[in-house]
């Protein structure tokens, strides 16, 4: 990424973005106060939401839902329509921002392949989740109490037991844990209202039995996977590891930007390097992450840009240099479109290579490219890898993901080349996937014991009585 590209990202703000986000903020304020009592301000915010989507296929239904809700009839179906309208606005913001980014980077992106699969059946877990989200919306964030938060436990448990509702379970559990920690919300100086409304709206969509992906549009791919970097997400009870890579298709053709993602359920006390022990079923993937090794894959299903990982169809190859992969292949690789219902600015995670930037520390870390500055997300450095704030600050090259939040582009480092004691070294998020390689951390880790093994032993002894 170059200075003039950062300049364009900063200055070419997509038309209508600010206005769309203002409408979203208005809706978020209604959700904060609660739908049980719609005041004048709330009615105006909802009318603005209806206006914003008036020219779209959603227009008539949103106008009707806003009318009913404003008149005091706040049914689940109306809230679902409002959640859809809010999601559509943020989906459009996603598309505009990603379009801007693709233009600036010269990145090719294949269009979304056709229609999505039909809606799945609405299960009891989804109905229960929808009822809880309805209750939350009526109450508003400021009115949430422990009793209401506890009401999420049953739908979470049921959704976890349904393979098709994993996403919903993970979302509700994460949201409920935050609410529990923040009760009483009214006493907070500022609640995270955009964030919670994002999660609420996404939860509402997931309870509709919406298609999880383009079931009809899966293709099988084979080729050589060259790692770029590893992104880790987690809350108390879930963790997800995503490998961003370039796929060189077998038999030639344009290289493609893809992700391989694996997830596991966990508990709050499994943190740091211990998370890697939650993936005993993916030995090849973990070794590839740890060694930054190429992987030859055969007939793996690809949904958009998401490889559906199957360790038995993956064969470990030679060690690679992710910086070289990025330098040589990133410019020519084709990216995939995000599934329509997953589009939201928070879903933007585009791999980029930054070389020749200085890292400045002015409270937060900032990449300085000839005077153009990109903030670094120092709050996205996982404890499960060797990337630290100090190493990012000493970086001479950085592989990362461009992200967008709160009106600005940010760089999330996935791997850095840095200078330490006059030696050039590298640190990547996946380095410890096959065991901690830093002797000091490894010693501390060994002393703490294997959290996953301890809990599995306890589960084995106590759960099946």
């Amino acid at each position: 990424m170059l200075a003039h590209q950062v300049t364009r990202l900063r200055t070419d703000v997509p038309a209508g973005l600010t206005e769309a986000l203002d409408v979203v903020a208005g809706f978020d304020a209604v959700l904060t106060r609660g739908f049980a009592r719609i005041g004048e301000e709330d009615a105006a915010a909802l009318a603005a939401l209806a206006d914003a989507v008036a020219g779209t296929p959603l227009g008539a239904r949103v106008a009707e839902a806003v009318g009913k809700v404003t008149a005091g009839s706040v049914a689940e179906e109306h809230l679902a329509v409002l959640a859809g309208a809010r999601s559509a606005l943020l989906g459009a913001a996603h598309d505009a921002l990603l379009g801007q980014l693709d233009g600036v980077l010269g990145r090719d992106r294949s269009p979304w392949p056709g229609a999505a699969a039909g809606a799945t059946e609405v299960s009891p877990a989804r109905l229960a989740a929808r009822a809880w989200l309805h209750e939350v919306a009526l109450t508003g964030w400021r009115g949430v109490d422990h009793e209401l938060v506890s009401g999420a436990a049953a739908p979470v448990e049921d959704a976890l037991a349904e393979p098709g509702s994993r996403r919903l379970a993970v979302l509700l559990d994460g949201l409920a844990a935050e609410l529990r920690a923040c009760v009483p919300v009214a006493a907070m100086p500022q609640a995270p209202v955009r964030r919670w409304a994002d999660l609420w709206a996404r939860g509402m969509l997931l309870t509709q039995g919406a298609p999880a992906g383009p079931a009809a549009d899966v293709e099988l791919v084979s080729g050589r996977l060259l790692p770029l970097g590893v992104d880790v997400h987690e809350h108390d009870t879930a963790v997800q590891v995503g490998l961003h890579a370039v796929l060189e298709p077998a038999g030639g053709g344009t290289p493609r930007l893809v992700r391989a993602t694996v997830g596991a359920a966990k508990v709050a006390t499994i943190v740091g390097p211990a998370i890697w022990r939650l993936f005993p079923g993916q030995p090849t993937l973990l070794r590839a992450l740890a060694g930054r090794r190429a992987v030859t894959v055969t007939d793996l299903p690809l949904h958009g840009g998401d490889l559906r990982w199957d360790d038995t169809r993956a064969e470990l190859g030679e060690p690679t240099d992710p910086f070289a992969t990025a330098r040589v292949l990133l410019a020519s690789a084709t990216a995939a479109s995000t599934p329509p219902l997953d589009r939201h600015p928070a879903a933007i995670a585009e791999p980029v290579l930054v070389e020749g930037a200085a890292v400045r520390d002015d409270g937060g870390l900032v990449l300085d490219l000839d005077g153009e500055r990109v903030p670094v997300t120092v709050d996205r450095l996982p404890a499960s890898g060797p990337l630290t704030r100090g190493r990012v600050a000493a970086a001479t090259a950085c592989l990362g993901l461009l992200r967008w939040d709160d009106g600005r582009w940010l760089l999330q480092p996935l791997g850095v080349r840095f200078t330490s004691k006059r030696q050039v070294a590298e640190a990547h998020n996946g380095d410890w996937a096959d065991g901690v390689t830093d002797p000091k951390i490894a010693k501390a880790d060994a002393k703490a014991g294997d959290a996953v093994a301890v809990l599995r032993e306890r589960a084995g002894r106590l759960l099946r009585r």
């Binding site: 993970v170 100086p189 108390d236 199957d310 995670a349």
Partner: protein
């Protein structure tokens, strides 16, 4: 919160609202939580691998209890919190930090509280039996997460939950 921080809490989609738990050894005290108005958890017996103790201290009243998961009172309770309760408080302090634990229990801690024993010294604790079943079943529910199979389908909602080290 400064004005800038408030604005970012209002407008950001991605924030770490709850700090991650700090890593601790789980062998002795596999489960600790601040819930249901209590600091409560499960302590493995030092002598019998099949046995666990359920220990709890109530917020505000500081009523404590310790029993096996079958409700047999702990022999170590002789007018004072037993070693299991001390271990529970020690581990809670590691996992959450002193300040959140003290705030939850409504204990006035000044400086110099680092251990469970020191925390109990700032309370006026009294013994009051409470059933173990609820806490024990919460522990089993907690363990059940480890029985959920791995997934190879992306969970796009976790984009809102980036992993981050405790500092930063």
């Amino acid at each position: 919160m400064t004005e800038a921080v408030e604005a970012s809490w209002r407008r950001r989609s991605v924030l770490r609202v709850v700090p991650p738990a700090r890593a601790r050894k789980l062998a002795k005290v596999p489960f600790v939580e601040l819930a249901d108005g209590r600091l409560q958890g499960v302590v493995s017996s030092g002598s019998d691998i099949e046995r666990v103790y359920v220990s709890s201290v109530a917020a505000g009243t500081h009523a404590y209890h310790c029993s096996t998961n079958n409700n047999r009172p702990c022999g170590g309770l002789r007018g004072n919190p037993c070693k299991h309760l001390h271990a529970l408080a020690d581990e809670a302090i590691i996992q959450y930090g002193v300040e959140p634990v003290a705030r939850y229990l409504r204990v006035d801690v000044g400086d110099g509280v680092d251990t469970g024993a020191e925390l109990f010294a700032r309370m006026d604790p009294r013994h009051e039996p409470s059933p173990a079943a609820v806490v024990f079943s919460r522990f089993l529910h907690h363990l059940a997460y480890l029985e959920v199979p791995e997934s190879t389908a992306p969970l796009p909602e976790l984009q809102w939950f980036p992993a981050s080290a405790a500092v930063g």
